[in-house]
Subunit: 350 residues, 4 copies
């Protein structure tokens, strides 16, 4: 009953096999191998347009590399106040942005509202140099609270961002779960609604360490190759990422894995919704389930072997926060979650 | 009627004369001159203890140099969401902190409340590396909204900061006005209540370009000399800052200048309070006056030659914000403000 | 006949199998897994003392993370003018060092001589702040030109470094080949002769992407965990590095692989020495062979399928450089090189 | 007898008076004042073309700001191995360049030769990402050893730089002495021969703290305003630099001051050349005089009150270095040096 995080999962057999095959062969260093080139081309197909792709080994660096392409002296990045780039990456975006500033904005279920974004941006007006200037808006898809932005919602935010001269970045560490959940195409989810750069995640959904930064305007990627190299993520055996992603993207494997995780989340949500020991503050759009559980039940679940994390009640609007004797918890499913795990959880929950 | 900013003021005659005298002489480069050494000693007297002092030419750099002494990978600085370091320094603290993160916290009249600080810090718990870690709390004295923290208020915040392993920085660009307003000693306002590093301002209060970074624990200053040098603020003719500060600190000149500015602010506040065209959302503690003025009156004042800036209504609690037909404005007085200017303003205000 | 680089090799079967096993299991994220902990302990055994170990995925980042532990404002790093950190890492050490300076020093066969180091350091005397200050000396073992520093040579350089307040870093991307070649213990090669931090390489010698930064004084490692995290090399599935290194270090596998590579280099060197078409400017100490070859022969070798790179003649003392009709080339062997490849090369060479 | 450095000098009366006048007035903050605007226009006249000008307070920051405009990930700057940016600025160019690399190249009398530059650049070929890429060549005018590059010499180096994609920066901390010495126009010395950005010095030649960064291609300056602000050199009372430079540039004052310093240097050089106690390794082109002096005489001069610094013999070609019983010394004259000082020096020298 591992619901701690989807990054506690292992890797799919197809990914493992592809990596083993590549590792038996070796090949030209620093991305000059055929596997890397093929995967880069694969992304163009997937997104139905020319793109500049940079394979990297972690989501934190994918975000930092994406955002660094828009960093400039005085640059300000806007993101949800609990965005991964703000509270979970040890300052990577600031560091790789050469001292970029992130301004955290409020949001329900992690989805930033247009008015909130406009107000936050208004604090950095284009007069003189001292305020700095907006350079990027970063949206997490799925959000840190499990919601998916609909394409029209992304479009509305992108319009505001661009009016202020800021690019739009999407942190897609759970991009697969969002695409699977919304039933839209990768293109509809990104550049067609104004996304400029995407952190395309593989690690949480069946890979070992494989992410891709996708720039939809390849001219903005002119420094990214050097930036990746000096970060030590231009690997000599770069095929180790390419092999994973090749298998991941082949024949829709990535979406099959994500659909499974989402189905398991729906099943888990149903269990929690139906129990009189717990309730859902909102419905999951992907593979992240948030629930308010009685404290005693929470203890019983943990004692029984369920692994998951408590979550800050401040993530919820005041009216929806846990009351006395209740806790807010986060449960994640993954491509590796089994129906049996959820059945056991249901039993413990009572 | 210049109430735009105290940094629109010139310099006091004593400061001008001292700078001219030093400039006729010249002397050993890079701070080896006698004037610099004397001023550094003067700060020890002023603060009644051994200190490490670094003269610099701007408040932005004073803040950045102070905070950089506490910067570490993953380090998080907490400050008011409208603090100068957050919205007016083009990302200096992030840059000189090697990619530091500033988290903006809410506050009334710019004064952070203990509970708000605790909640903000709680988002960066000491588990694993991904959250980063609190390294500093920066308090502005006077705040950006003109309030002065009482020593006990600083002490309460310092206690929370230190429990989380964070240092306390005071942005004292208007330190003189705060000391003059509160009637406490520099020591009582700083290290005696837990302040570790101070940006001591001179520029806004009679100097041209003269600030000092004061570290109350000299061992924390071990990198500051090199950090200042590589920032290009270890000046070859360093005596140009020392000469200003020597005159500024001599015979209480700095406090005389600040007291004048504060008196002018009190007089201006009285004018605004008594008019039926305007009201004060809160009383000034120093030389910054915030007022809610009728829009038509605001236009008349400007047309009549009064110079000042509108201010974001979001700086006020919802209940106190300007209503329809009203605007929030900020008016600053300085050591150079005259009673005549205020009388003319009063007349225009009606 | 791949002699282009040892990083063109694949991974050993043991490493592949270990990675597959770990990937089937998954586990707690961000290095909290058992495999990571076990490998960290394994390094203490290997080096016969307490150490602080940080697993990372590339040699470039291993070097940058090591050196960043000693970086301070104004800090100067001394390294061979052709050191990997100077000419092959796109400025990683400067970047992660927050703007560190690398001063390149001359050396024969890549081995810095004590007098040369002393002279280079003397340019950065401890007077005032403007020169900066020495913070580290970085030695490559094997050097970029294939030589191995004997322990006594390291000790002599370390003495000079430390007298100037600088730490000693060893770039051990080919540490295994050096240890195998010299027949000394890892401890004798490092901390016993003054090395403070080691980049311990696995990637070039049978792993896929696995390196370790080893700090012999664990107190200097206090920021490295955060620095690694914000660089995006604190992987969620950190076990992917640990699994590789566990297999690599198990039962001397790493030294067996290196001994094979070295033997193949010796065999290749013998072929080149004995041919009248080529000569060796110096003998290899590990798995890097430099040779001066007739231009026509060089073309024949390449046409026949031998893969290797030309090398800058300026790497050699003037008297030993290739003459007209000759080129300097670099040939690397690896754990994957076969005797058959060398026999075919010998035949082509004639 | 102060020949320690021209930065030990004070400021000219005209500069002091102009600064006093401005300081009595004050004015709009952050460079919105009329004085700043006028000086910015003055530079366009001086250089006979449209330029983008940024006033700053130190030469170190002028260099760093100039070079930062060309900095990119992986970027390499080439400069003389004893250039001020390499050995005297505590790593400013690396820091403000976001981790830029400086490669020091050899040169006689500080003047880089075309072949040496070509060879240094050749180490960073445009293949893959790991070598990084040339972004700038920085030339010091006057060089650190007192020589002036003739315009044709600059042109030859600029051609090589540009062929490699690198910009040309001129560190003109003694630009006035070079222009005065060579008798060419500012335009002929800079953009007409390929210089892209100039650090125009005022501090060493009669100002207190006043330098200007001049970009000859204003489109490259798009980030410089923000970069200056976040460095804390976008001063609130920016007029303090403008006032100095206005007086400095008015009616050729800057060249009059420089011509005086150069004349004093020529007189000092004559004294040293004619004495049998000393000799000149090369003739001065401006206000820097290098001499080889008998050790006993050196001691007598210092005992008699002459202030100057010894210099590293390695700055000279081996054949020209001081022999036993001799030392190499550097003597600088300034706009403030008097003929009397030189007569007294001559007397002491004997």
């Amino acid at each position: 009953m591992i619901f701690a995080s989807d990054n506690w999962s292992g890797a799919s057999e197809r990914v493992i096999a592809a990596l083993g095959d590549a590792a038996r062969k070796g090949g030209p260093a620093y991305g000059a191998d055929e596997l890397t080139k093929a995967v880069e081309r694969r992304f163009a197909e997937l997104f139905e347009r020319e793109v500049a792709v940079f394979l990297v080994a972690s989501g934190t660096f994918a975000n930092a590399l994406s955002l660094s392409a828009y960093a400039r002296p005085g640059g300000v990045i806007f993101a949800h106040r609990e965005a991964h780039i703000q509270v979970d990456e040890a300052g990577a975006a600031e560091f790789f942005g050469g001292g970029a500033k992130i301004v955290g904005v409020d949001a329900e279920a992690g989805k930033i509202a247009p008015d909130t974004l406009s107000a936050a941006i208004a604090r950095f007006p284009a007069e003189g140099f001292h305020h700095g200037r907006p350079v990027a808006v970063s949206l997490t898809q799925l959000t840190e609270l499990g919601a998916a932005y609909a394409p029209a919602e992304v479009a509305a935010l992108a319009k505001i961002a661009k009016a202020a001269g800021a690019a739009v970045h999407m942190d897609g560490s759970r991009f697969a779960n969002a695409v699977a959940g919304l039933g839209v195409s990768p293109a509809e989810m990104t550049w067609k609604v104004g996304v400029d750069a995407l952190s395309f995640g593989g690690t949480k959904n069946g890979c070992i360490a494989a992410e891709a930064v996708v720039f939809f305007d390849p001219t903005r990627a002119r420094d990214a190759g050097f930036a990746r190299q000096r970060a030590g993520q231009g690997f000599s055996k770069n095929w180790f990422i390419a092999a994973q992603l090749a298998a991941y993207l082949d024949k829709g494997h990535w979406l099959d894995l994500a659909r499974h995780a989402n189905r398991m989340a729906a099943r888990l949500a149903a269990v929690l919704r139906q129990s009189n020991k717990s309730r859902l503050p909102f419905e999951p759009d992907g593979n992240e389930v948030f629930a308010i559980v009685e404290t005693a039940v929470d203890q019983r679940l943990r004692a029984g072997g369920a692994m998951y994390y408590p979550w800050s009640p401040e993530s919820l609007p005041v009216a929806e926060r846990p009351g006395p004797g209740e806790v807010l918890v986060r449960l994640l499913t993954s491509w590796q979650t089994t129906a049996d795990e959820i059945d056991r959880f249901a039993e413990l929950l009572g």
